[in-house]
Symmetry: C2
Subunit: 415 residues, 2 copies
C-alpha cells in the first residue's frame, strides 16, 4: 500500500481526537511509516450533525458502507459499550484490517478473542488507549514482560474518582460537591456510575491481567468497592494519621494464585501512589528483575488518548504480521481474588470492646474511629460478629501504630 | 542462527548482572526469541580472579580472542570510560554484531557515530541501560516520538545525589555525612565526583537530547552545577517554604532553541519530581499530544540495569535489521544552552538593599536568605553587581511570594 487508509468508528471526544491528530501529524506519520495516513470514513450516530470533517471523507451511519470500501487497512474504534463494537471489530479483523480500540469494557470481556482472531488473520490489535489514556502502560508492560516476571500491578486507573478524593481532601468538600465539580469540569459523565462505583477501573485492571498473567480471574467474583461511602470526616481523620484515600485497582500473583480487587485503601506517604492527585492516572509495576517502576500521566482527554491510538497505528504497522500474542501462558495460575493482604486497617462504626475482645491491637482517634493491626482472618472474624455497618479500609505503605514499639505491649492504649 | 551467541565486556556489577539474568531467564528469552541465548565469552581485567562462570565460557583479557570467535551475534558492553569501549564497539559493529551498552559517558560522546555505523551494517544498538537504569525511558521516548513532538524533558538522573539530598533533609545530616552514608551503602563510588558534580547526569541528559532532538547542544557550553554547595541550613530554610532541593537535568526546545542544564533547583509540591526521593531516578516528558508523563524507578543496581540490557537484546533481535535510526532530524535547531527560565529564586549571601535597588520583589526568611521574584535578566544584573559569593537557586513548580497578592505592591514586605 502507498497510503494507509483508516476508518474511525465514533466521533465523540476520542474519535475526533484521532481524526485531528492524523490531520495535524502527517509529517510524523510519514516519517515513521514511510507513507501518509488517510482517514477515508467515519461512522457516526447522526449523519446530519455538523462536524468539521473534510468533504472527501465518507461520513455514514452504516457500518456496511465502511466495510465495502476497497483497500481499508485500519479501523480505529472509539465508541462505548460492548456491542456493537465487538461485532464490528470481529468483522474488521475478518476482512484483514488492523484494529485499534479505546473501548475498555469491550476489551475487558472480548480482548482475548480479538487477539486470537487477529493472530490467525495476521493483523494487529492495538489497545493502549483502553488503559490509562496517554500513559504507555501496555507497551511498557509488553517490553518488560519479554524478560521480567511481573508479579504485581497496582494503579489509580480512574481519573474522575481520584479527582473527587483529591478535591474532598484539599478543599474540604463533601463527596456530592466534589462529584458535581467533576461533572462541571467535564471529567465525569452525566451518569458517573462507572467511575465512582469502580467498574471503569475494574475493566482496565482485567485488561492488564490478561496481558500480564495470560488470563483473568473469574470476572464476577472480583471484589469491586466504589468510593461513594467515603466521607469528608473519614478523609480528615485519615489525614491526621498522614494517610490518604486512594481508589486502588490491584492484581497480584502470590503462590500461583491471582488476587485482584478494586477498592478504596488508605496509603501512607511511602506508597508510590500517595502523591498521585487530581485527574492523573498512575500504574506501579513490580517485576522480578526491574523492581518497582511507576508511570504517571493523563488518564483521559482528547489528545492524550488520541496519542496512544495513533502510536498503536505505528506499532501495528511496524511489527511483523502475525507476531504471536505476547500474553504470557499462565496455566498454573489458580483463579482467585482477594482482599488487600493488609496488616493495618482503618475501622469505623465499631465499639472498642469488639476490637479488644478479638485480641486486636488498635489506637483510637475519635469515638468510633480506630487504626487497627489485624490479620485478614481477624478482620473476617470481626465482620461475622458485627451488624454489617462497620467500615474497614486497608492501609498500605509503611505504617505502624504509635504504641507499637513500647516495651509493654498495650492493647488499645487510648482506650 | 539457532542459538544467540553473546559476549559480555566487563564483569563488574552490570556485566555480572547480565550474565546471571541470561542464565536465570532462559525460558523467557526462548519464549521471546524462539531460540536460546548463550554467553560464550566474557572480557575481564584479571584472568586469575575467581568468578562463578560456567567452565565452557571463554574468560579472557584479550578482546581479539572474543572477536575471533565464530558466530558471535551480540556484544554487551559493561565497562567504564570512553576508551577502549568505543573502539571495541566500532569493531563489533564492523563484524556484524549487535551491540548493547550501559556506558553513558561513551554513548554521550560517540552514540551518534555508533548508531550511524550500525545502520550501515544493518545491526542494532541498544542503550536503554545508559540512562536511568531499569526505567524504560529510551523505548518510551522512541514510541512517543513516533507521533508526539517532545518539547521538554526534566529528570533526576543520578540516584546518588538524590539520595544525599534526601538524607540531608530527612535526617538533618551534613553533606559530608550523607555522602559517607551513600558510599557505605554502595550507592556512591570511592570517587563520587561524577555523581555529585553532575557529570553523570549530564552524560545521560545529552544521550536523551540526541534521541529526542536529533542532536546535542555544544557539550562544553552546557552549564553543569553540582550539589556540593548545598548546605543543611539552606535545605531547612527551603523546607520552611515547602520547597525541596532536587538536582535537575533538563533540556527544552523553545522557539527552535535548545536550553540544557544540570543544576540544583528548588521544586515546590506541585512539581512532578518533588516526591522523588532516595536513590530513585525519574524522568518527566512533555509531548505536544500526550501532555506530561513521568516515569520513576530504580536508576541503578545489578538487576534493574541487567533487565534493561537484556530487554534491549530482545528489541534489537526482533526489529527489522537496518531500521533507520529514530533520532529526529532537527536541522532548524539553533544550539544553545541556558539557565532554568525561572521567575522565582532562592537567593542567599546578599544584602536586601541589592534586591531592593534592582527593583526585585522579595521576602526575607533569615538574615541573608531571600525568596525573590525576578527575571533571568534581573538575576544576571544582580550577578554583575555582587562579589561572586551570592548563591542563586531557581524555584520551579507553582510558587508565589506571600505578599504577592496584596493590593498595595510592597517591595520586600519583611525588610
Amino acid at each position: 500500500m502507498s497510503v494507509v487508509n483508516a476508518a474511525i468508528l465514533g466521533f465523540g471526544t476520542v474519535g475526533e481526537g484521532v481524526y485531528r491528530t492524523i490531520q495535524s501529524h502527517q509529517e510524523e506519520l510519514e516519517a515513521a511509516l514511510g507513507k501518509p495516513v488517510k482517514v477515508v470514513a467515519v461512522l457516526v450516530k447522526n449523519e446530519h450533525k455538523s462536524r468539521e470533517i473534510e468533504t472527501d471523507v465518507l461520513v455514514t451511519t452504516e457500518i456496511e458502507e465502511i466495510f465495502n470500501l476497497p483497500d481499508l487497512h485500519v479501523i480505529f474504534e472509539a465508541i462505548v459499550d460492548k456491542e456493537p463494537s465487538f461485532t464490528y471489530l470481529k468483522q474488521a479483523i475478518a476482512k484483514g484490517c488492523h484494529v485499534i480500540t479505546a473501548n475498555k469494557e469491550m476489551f475487558c470481556y472480548h480482548g482475548q478473542e480479538l487477539l486470537d482472531l487477529a493472530q490467525k488473520q495476521r493483523v494487529g490489535v492495538g489497545y493502549e488507549a483502553s488503559v490509562a489514556g496517554g500513559i504507555p502502560i501496555i507497551q511498557t508492560l509488553q517490553q518488560l514482560l519479554n524478560i521480567n516476571n511481573v508479579t504485581a500491578i497496582q494503579g489509580i486507573l480512574n481519573g474522575t474518582s481520584n479527582f473527587i478524593l483529591t478535591e474532598m481532601r484539599e478543599q474540604k468538600q463533601s463527596f456530592e460537591a466534589a462529584l458535581a465539580l467533576a461533572q462541571q469540569k467535564g471529567y465525569a459523565e452525566a451518569d458517573p456510575g462507572n467511575d465512582i462505583y469502580g467498574c471503569d477501573a475494574f475493566y482496565k485492571l482485567m485488561i492488564l491481567s490478561g496481558l500480564v498473567f495470560g488470563e483473568q480471574p473469574d470476572l464476577k467474583s472480583v471484589k469491586i468497592n466504589g468510593i461513594t461511602g467515603i466521607t469528608l470526616e473519614q478523609i480528615e481523620l485519615a489525614d491526621q494519621w498522614g494517610l490518604r484515600f486512594k481508589h486502588l485497582a490491584s492484581i497480584e500473583k502470590k503462590q500461583e494464585r491471582l488476587h485482584a480487587s478494586v477498592t478504596p485503601v488508605l496509603v501512607s506517604q511511602s506508597h508510590p501512589l500517595y502523591h498521585v492527585e487530581g485527574v492523573d492516572n498512575a500504574v506501579n509495576v513490580t517485576g522480578d528483575l526491574v523492581g518497582d517502576i511507576t508511570l504517571q500521566g493523563p488518564g483521559a482527554g482528547m489528545y492524550p488518548t488520541a496519542s496512544a491510538m495513533v502510536e498503536d497505528l505505528v506499532h501495528v504497522l511496524q511489527k511483523p504480521a502475525g507476531e504471536k500474542a505476547r500474553n504470557k501462558a499462565a496455566s498454573k495460575i489458580i483463579k482467585e481474588n482477594g482482599e488487600q493482604d493488609a496488616s493495618y486497617w482503618l475501622v469505623s462504626n465499631i465499639k472498642q470492646e469488639q476490637l479488644s475482645n478479638a485480641g486486636i491491637d488498635f489506637e483510637q482517634l475519635e469515638e468510633s474511629f480506630f487504626a487497627a493491626k489485624a490479620s485478614p482472618a481477624q478482620i473476617e472474624q470481626l465482620k461475622e460478629q458485627e451488624d454489617g455497618t462497620t467500615v474497614y479500609y486497608p492501609i498500605v505503605g509503611t505504617f505502624e501504630l504509635k504504641n507499637e514499639h513500647k516495651e509493654t505491649h498495650l492493647i488499645g492504649a487510648h482506650g
